[in-house]
Subunit: 373 residues, 2 copies
């Protein structure tokens, strides 16, 4: 396809064509450093979620600063990450279906791979698939529902029972518990998030206690996200943190309260670069970035550096700004938008245009873009 990269290395940002997904490398690296600093002296490992960025370069940058590996959601994401040089990937999700289980087994030859389960039939199918791949053993975590009510078995006895089934499999190794409280991440108040994680920690303790009683070693407890990870880190029971969005931040996470959470204020490093393509009147500026450039599942994008201007309406290829008297926004002017939700926005783009000091320093392919299988 022609023109799939709207930028060249060395180009001033002002010349980068739009819409483009722009990563401010200085801000991104400061976020990496903030995360490292916030975990200094805490006895937990960081395994950031790669579903946020879908990019081996970013995974490797996280690992270079101390992450033990990454997690992801899909088999095809894991394939893209391993192909890109990542050596330790947890699929923090269930994988169902013969075709995908065969791919998991094959991929486990190439990297340290682990996967989650919440069903005994699925455990048996996974064991059989891995057994067909000579000499492979796979790490398997039992996912428990710690309050998000999505996937996962109930904490306590059901978790112990499924762990026992995993441990009994010839080709699987029971590696611990997946305990992610997804619905806590965007509760706005610190105390609400803390309370939700208190609940998750109680569920984890009950399950770990049950495993101990049953004589099943629980290798690790893994979970947490950008909105709550300090609470899981302080719990003494979580071993690994799966925060992902901290590298980019987005409008939705920006609405959380952070003070006294123990979590640093990460800064916005990811932007949708857009052009004013129509100026029908003094109050309305129309941008060339719509639903296909910036996802609105968690709300509208926001204009960076200009809080007076409102992003009021979006359609497939247009974003409408209400200027509220703001100056500028002439036809052809370029505008930096902060995405409403970074993960699905990243998934719309083929590349990060990585910028430092106003110039394009690198172009990083989003190789797991569209990798939903």
């Amino acid at each position: 396809m022609p023109h799939t990269i709207p930028a060249e290395i060395g180009m001033p940002l002002a010349e980068v064509d739009t819409p483009a997904l722009v990563l401010d490398l200085d801000a991104f690296e400061r976020n990496l450093d903030r995360m490292s600093a916030s975990l200094a002296g805490v006895n937990v490992r960081l395994r950031p979620h790669a579903k946020s960025h879908k990019c081996p370069q970013i995974a490797l940058a996280q690992i270079a600063r101390g992450a033990v590996g990454v997690c992801c959601q899909k088999t095809s994401e894991a394939e893209a990450l391993v192909l890109g040089g990542v050596k330790d990937v947890l699929i923090a999700n269930e994988v169902v279906g013969a075709a995908k289980l065969s791919r998991i087994a094959a991929l486990a030859r190439e990297a340290r791979l682990s996967v989650c389960v919440d069903d005994a039939g699925n455990v048996a199918a996974l064991d059989a698939a891995v057994g067909r791949e000579f000499g492979v053993r796979l790490d398997v975590l039992v996912e428990i529902d710690v309050g998000a009510h999505r996937c996962g078995v109930e904490p306590g006895e059901p978790a112990v029972e499924l762990a026992r089934a995993v441990a009994a499999c010839r080709n699987l190794r029971f590696a611990g518990l997946q305990a992610y409280q997804g619905s806590a991440q965007h509760l706005r108040k610190v105390e609400e998030r803390r309370a939700a994680i208190d609940g998750a920690v109680a569920a984890v303790r009950a399950s770990v206690g049950g495993l101990r009683k049953a004589g099943i070693p629980c290798g690790k407890v893994t979970g947490a996200g950008t909105g709550t990870y300090a609470f899981e880190a302080a719990s003494g029971i979580y071993d690994e943190l799966q925060a992902g969005s901290y590298i980019f931040m987005d409008v939705d996470y920006g609405k959380n309260e952070w003070t006294e959470s123990g979590i640093p204020r990460f800064e916005h490093s990811l932007f949708v670069w857009a052009t004013v393509m129509s100026r029908p009147n003094a109050e309305r500026a129309v941008l060339d970035a719509g639903l296909k450039a910036s996802s609105v599942d968690s709300g509208m994008p926001r204009v960076a550096d200009d809080p007076a201007v409102e992003f009021v309406r979006i359609s497939d290829e247009h974003g409408v700004l209400k200027l509220n008297g703001a100056k500028g926004y002439a036809l052809g002017d370029k505008v930096k938008l902060i995405p409403g939700h970074c993960d699905p926005t990243v998934n719309l783009h083929d590349n990060y245009v990585c910028v430092r000091g106003g110039r394009v320093e690198a172009i990083w392919p989003i190789t797991a873009r569209g990798a939903v299988w």
Copy 2:
């Protein structure tokens, strides 16, 4: 990338891995026929919107059944369509910025290309860009705001003034008016949509009248969408219809009332094929298709053929069904979802898995997926 196509020609649909974007070819072709039948004997041309499908194969199927060409929104979409063999493309949108204007001028050598304007400075820049491409002339339409309040100049005198500026350009040909009432398409009641188009028609008449008085020939009036096109067709003033979604339909369009609109009931032909990946309890089934497989900007997807089941929650890679006592939905079962909004859902996928009689008949690449420039 490995595994970017979850299907092979000849494979039973049941074996197609998930999530996949499935096109029911019989339903799709019936929709094409319904559109043709509904326009039989009406003196208007069909120029379907290719932003809905982003696929040359579909554009060519539309043209084979009588469409004069297609329209699209972006320069890169036009490039993908022309590269795929489409000979007549209207970019039904403004194009701003030197880089894109040069691409437009170059593309006009390869196909009959037209583009919209709503700004005199942009007209001059377009004229200059086309002038640098030897021997090219470009058709240009003036977009008027017929009630959607997005892009476009005001109807009447401002439209005439801009048309005069286009007509005065050495390398541009004033080709008529772009008059799309986007905000009317999803008004639920037929009478609301009819009233909105009455307003658009009045705005068009005022502009066409002004052009006539000014002695500027108005080649054509183009606009309309799936929700209203019968009203524009009956107006006697629209020459071309730009409906796009009729080929697929989606949950959002399905909520419109259609009876007595003069528009046939198009059927759902586009589906997201998903797998039950977790069954935590009797009432909850979790699918492997989330925000990155089906866009929710216009509401949740719906389970096809099972109205009792509710799609209640979505996250990046999960969709949660409330079964309300429905049978089935065992782990590994596959489910057909109707997308909430077809256009941005198509833009998430790389291929249509085209199915007829329960077997994969073709795989059509979505070559303009991600073509937002």
